[in-house]
C-alpha cells in the first residue's frame, strides 16, 4: 500500500456509438461530474465505481477512432493515458463494428495501457447472425475480454470483477502488432537511440510507441522530442529512417495503419463465426427512406416540428404549475409577512422570487425539449439530420453537425451553445457555439407576437416566419465570417460513421435528459436569477435614491429610475435613427436578462396589464410597421440573454463571451438600421 493517497483511476475508451455512455452509467450508477477537459471545450465526465467497498474513479474519454495528433479528442485521450496513467483502460469494443473498434483497442495496447476489453452489443451481433469467440480473442491479444450487453446489464458484474482484478495484475501488450521486417528494424533503431539519449522520455512513453509515432511523423510527438536536449539527434535519425522507408514502402503513415488493420483483420477472422445468413439490414432500409431525395428533408422538418410541439405545448401545465406556485403563492406569502421594511418585501417579492420564477418557469420546457431530443438522438436520427443538411453548411465552412445546436437553439439558446461541443473540430466548434444564439429561441416569440400582432396586422404571420429565417441566414453568414477570420482552418470534413438505428432506451434517455437539464439549471439559473435582481435594483433606484417598489407599477416613477434614464438616453442617441419610443428602448435593456421580460416590462412602462399591451401599442401608434419590424429584428439579434452569454463564457471563455456580446449588438443595430433605411427608400413606413 505504498500509494495509498492516490485514488485508483480507470478510463473508458471506445469509438463513437459503441455504448460507452451506457457502460459509464452502468459502472458509476449514472452519477457523474460533468465539465470540460482543460483548455478545450471537449466534455469530460467523471464518476465513481463502487465494488467491494472500494471506490474507483471512472473517467470517460472522448469517443475516438485512433490516437493521432490530428484531432483534439484523440490527443486528450492519449495524453490522459500517458500523463495520468490510469490503472486500467477499459476499451469498449462493439461486436457489430468489430474491425474499427479493435483497431482502437490495438492502438491503446501499443500505448502501453493496461487494457480490459469490454465486448459490447453481443446481443446485436447474435441477432445479425454471427458469434464471437471471446475466449479466443482474449488469447490472441493477451488481455481480458468481457462480453456485455449494456442495455440489459448482462456481463456488467463480470466486467467490474475483471476491472478490479486487472488493477492488480498489469498486462502490457505494446508489441501486439508486427509491422514487418523493414519497419520493425527502423523501430528498433529509433528505440535504441531514444533509450540512449532520452531515457526520461522512455520512462513516460513506451519507447516503441515513440519510435512508431516518429516514423508516422506525428506532429505532437515530434514537437515534444525536439524540445529535449538530444532532440535534434533523435529527430534526424528518425527522418533519415523515414526517408529510407519511404523509398521501400511508400508513405510510412499509411503503411503503418495498413499493417495494424491487417493484424485486426487477422484477429477478426479468427474469432468471428457466421452462424446464419445475413438478412436485410434494418438500418439501410430505413435510411433509404429517411434520407430519400424528396421526402428526406420534409421528414426531418416534421420530426423537429413534433419535437417543438412536445416541448412547448405539452409542458404547459408544468410551467403554469411552477408559475402559480411561485408568482402567486410564494409571492403572496412574502407580501403577507408583516413587519418587514418595504424595500425588503419588494426585494424578496419582485427581485428574488421573480428571479427564481424566471428560471423555474423555463425549466419544464427545457426538460421536455431535452427529453424529446434525447429520444431522437438515441434512435440515431440526429446523425441523419446532419447528413441531410451538410451540403448547406459546407458552403459556409461549417459541418452538418452544426445544425443541431441551431435546432436546439430554437428552443433555448443556452443548451444550443452547450450542444456545440459535439462538433469535433475546435475551430468549427467555437464558431458554432458563437452563432447558435442567432437561432430565434422560444422566449423571443412573445415579443414578435405582441408587436407584430399590434402593428403588422395581416402580415404578422409572414413577418414572424421571416425572422426565423433571418436568424438562420445570419447565423450562417456570421459563421462563414468567423471561419474566414478568427477560426480559420481547413474544414474537418464530414467523415463519420452513421450509427445503426436502435430502439431508444429509457434509462439512456432519462439520464441524458437529467444531466442536461441539471446543467441548464445550474449554469443558466444562477445568472438569470442575478440578472433579475439587478434589473429590479435598477428599476427601484435612481439618481434621487430609492424610489420604492411603486416604481415597478408606476410609469412616471419608473422614468426616474436608472433603467428609465438609460432607456431615454438610448432612445435619444443611438436609437434616434430608429424612431423607437424610449419605453421600447428600456424594454430592450430589460431584455438582456431574458427576452420574455421585454413584453412584461413594456406592459409596466405603458402602465397596463400584460393582456392589454397589444391594444395599447396599436392604439397609441407606438410603432409604424417599419419600425416595428426593425424592432423585432433587433430583438432577434441582440444578445439573447445573459444566461446564453454565461454559457458562451463557460464553454469558450470570457474573451469570446465579450466577442459574442459585441458582435450581436452591433449586428442587431446594423440590421435594424438597414431595415429602416432600405424600407423607407422602398416606400414602406
Amino acid at each position: 500500500m505504498a500509494r495509498e493517497s492516490r485514488r485508483v483511476k480507470i478510463a473508458l475508451a471506445g469509438i463513437p456509438n459503441v455504448g460507452k455512455s451506457l457502460i459509464f452509467n452502468r459502472l458509476t450508477g449514472g452519477r457523474a461530474w460533468v465539465g470540460n477537459w482543460p483548455g478545450v471545450t471537449v466534455e469530460k465526465k467523471v464518476g465513481t465505481l463502487r465494488v467491494n467497498g472500494a471506490e474507483i474513479e471512472v473517467v470517460d474519454l472522448p469517443g475516438i477512432y485512433s490516437l493521432t495528433a490530428y484531432s483534439v479528442d484523440e490527443l486528450i485521450a492519449r495524453n490522459f493515458i500517458v500523463e495520468e496513467k490510469p490503472d486500467v483502460v477499459v476499451c469498449i469494443v462493439s461486436a457489430i463494428n468489430l474491425e474499427r473498434s479493435l483497431y482502437l483497442a490495438l492502438s491503446l495496447l501499443e500505448l502501453g495501457a493496461n487494457v480490459v476489453i469490454d465486448l459490447n452489443m453481443v446481443d446485436l451481433a447474435e441477432k445479425e447472425g454471427y458469434k464471437i469467440d471471446y475466449k479466443k480473442l482474449e488469447f490472441l491479444i493477451g488481455v481480458p475480454v468481457v462480453p456485455t450487453v449494456a442495455t440489459t446489464g448482462r456481463g456488467i458484474g463480470k466486467l467490474k470483477e475483471t476491472i478490479v482484478k486487472a488493477i492488480h495484475e498489469k498486462k502490457v501488450q505494446a508489441r501486439i502488432v508486427d509491422y514487418g521486417r523493414i519497419v520493425e528494424e527502423a523501430i528498433s533503431k529509433i528505440e535504441e537511440v531514444i533509450k540512449d539519449l532520452a531515457p526520461e522520455l522512455a520512462e513516460k512513453y513506451p519507447a516503441r510507441w515513440i519510435a512508431l509515432k516518429l516514423l508516422e511523423g506525428d506532429s505532437d510527438i515530434v514537437g515534444k522530442v525536439s524540445k529535449l536536449p538530444a532532440g535534434k539527434e533523435i529527430i534526424d535519425k528518425a527522418n533519415q529512417l523515414r526517408e529510407i522507408l519511404g523509398k521501400k514502402i511508400g508513405d510510412p503513415e499509411s503503411y503503418i495503419v495498413k499493417q495494424k488493420y491487417e493484424r485486426v483483420l487477422e484477429i477478426v477472422k479468427a474469432v468471428v463465426e457466421r452462424v446464419a445468413v445475413p438478412r436485410v439490414s434494418m438500418t439501410d432500409l430505413l435510411d433509404s427512406v429517411l434520407t430519400h431525395k424528396i421526402v428526406g428533408i420534409p421528414l426531418a422538418l416534421s420530426a423537429i416540428y413534433l419535437l417543438f410541439r412536445f416541448a412547448f405545448e405539452v409542458s404547459v401545465p408544468l410551467a403554469d404549475l411552477v408559475d402559480v406556485a411561485i408568482n402567486s403563492y410564494l409571492h403572496d406569502i412574502v407580501l403577507g409577512i408583516h413587519g418587514l421594511p418595504d424595500w425588503l418585501t419588494s426585494f424578496l417579492a419582485d427581485g428574488v422570487i421573480a428571479g427564481v420564477g424566471a428560471v423555474l418557469i423555463f425549466l419544464p420546457i427545457i426538460a421536455f425539449f431535452f427529453l424529446g431530443f434525447a429520444i431522437l438522438e438515441d434512435v440515431g436520427y440526429m446523425a441523419r439530420v446532419a447528413f441531410l443538411v451538410d451540403k448547406v453548411f459546407h458552403k459556409f465552412n461549417l459541418p452538418g453537425k452544426a445544425v443541431i445546436p441551431l435546432i436546439i437553439g430554437f428552443g433555448c439558446n443556452v443548451p444550443g451553445v452547450m450542444a456545440a461541443r459535439a462538433i469535433e473540430d475546435e475551430n468549427e466548434r467555437k464558431t458554432t457555439a458563437l452563432i447558435a444564439p442567432l437561432a430565434s429561441c422560444n422566449a423571443r416569440l412573445p415579443v414578435y407576437l405582441v408587436i407584430g400582432g399590434a402593428v403588422l396586422g395581416a402580415s404578422a404571420g409572414f413577418a414572424v416566419l421571416s425572422l426565423y429565417v433571418l436568424g438562420i441566414i445570419l447565423a450562417l453568414i456570421v459563421g462563414l465570417l468567423l471561419r474566414k477570420t478568427l477560426f480559420k482552418g481547413a474544414s474537418s470534413g464530414f467523415i463519420m460513421e452513421l450509427p445503426p438505428y436502435m430502439m431508444p432506451r429509457f434509462d439512456n434517455v432519462a439520464i441524458k435528459t437529467w444531466e442536461r437539464t441539471k446543467r441548464f439549471l445550474f449554469k443558466a439559473g444562477t445568472v438569470i436569477f442575478l440578472g433579475t435582481v439587478i434589473v429590479w435594483l435598477l428599476s427601484v433606484t435612481g439618481p434621487e435614491g430609492y424610489l420604492g417598489p411603486e416604481a415597478l407599477e408606476d410609469p412616471q416613477l419608473l422614468r426616474e429610475s436608472w433603467a428609465g434614464i438609460l432607456g431615454q438616453l438610448l432612445a435619444s442617441t443611438v436609437f434616434s435613427l430608429m424612431g423607437w419610443d424610449w419605453r421600447a428602448a428600456v424594454a430592450l435593456f430589460f431584455g438582456f436578462v431574458a427576452k420574455e421580460i421585454v413584453v412584461s416590462s413594456m406592459a409596466i412602462l405603458y402602465g397596463v396589464g400584460e393582456e392589454k399591451i397589444v391594444d395599447v401599442i396599436a392604439e397609441r401608434h407606438v410603432f409604424t410597421p417599419l419600425t416595428a419590424y426593425a424592432y423585432m429584428a433587433f430583438v432577434l439579434i441582440y444578445v439573447p440573454c445573459i444566461a446564453t452569454l454565461a454559457m458562451v463564457r463557460n464553454e469558450l471563455g470570457l474573451k469570446y463571451a465579450i466577442l459574442a456580446l459585441i458582435y450581436e449588438v452591433l449586428l442587431a443595430y446594423i440590421v435594424s438600421l438597414s431595415i429602416i433605411s432600405i424600407g423607407s427608400v422602398l416606400g414602406f413606413r
Partner: protein, 72 residues
C-alpha cells in the same frame, strides 16, 4: 466520379492531415471493396459502406480516395 449502387476498390488514399488519417483509421485501405450506397438529398455528402457500418463522407473528401471500379 463514383456512382451510386456501384462497387469499387480502393487504390490509394491521397491528401493529408486529419482527413486522410481518418479515412485510413476507418479502415478504407488500398485493396478494400466499397459500395456507394446513396447520396444525400442535396447531392452531397455521400454514404458508402465498407466493412461494418455505413460512413458518410463529403464528395470533396471522397475524391481523395482513388478508386477503381470492380467489374461485377
Amino acid at each position: 466520379m463514383a456512382k451510386v449502387g456501384r462497387i469499387y476498390r480502393v487504390v490509394r488514399v491521397e491528401g493529408a492531415g486529419l482527413v486522410k488519417r481518418r479515412i485510413l483509421d476507418l479502415g478504407l485501405l488500398p485493396g478494400l471493396e466499397i459500395k456507394v450506397v446513396r447520396k444525400a438529398p442535396l447531392g452531397d455528402p455521400i454514404e458508402i459502406v465498407a466493412k461494418g457500418n455505413p460512413i458518410s463522407i463529403r464528395k470533396a473528401e471522397a475524391e481523395k480516395i482513388i478508386l477503381e471500379e470492380v467489374k461485377g
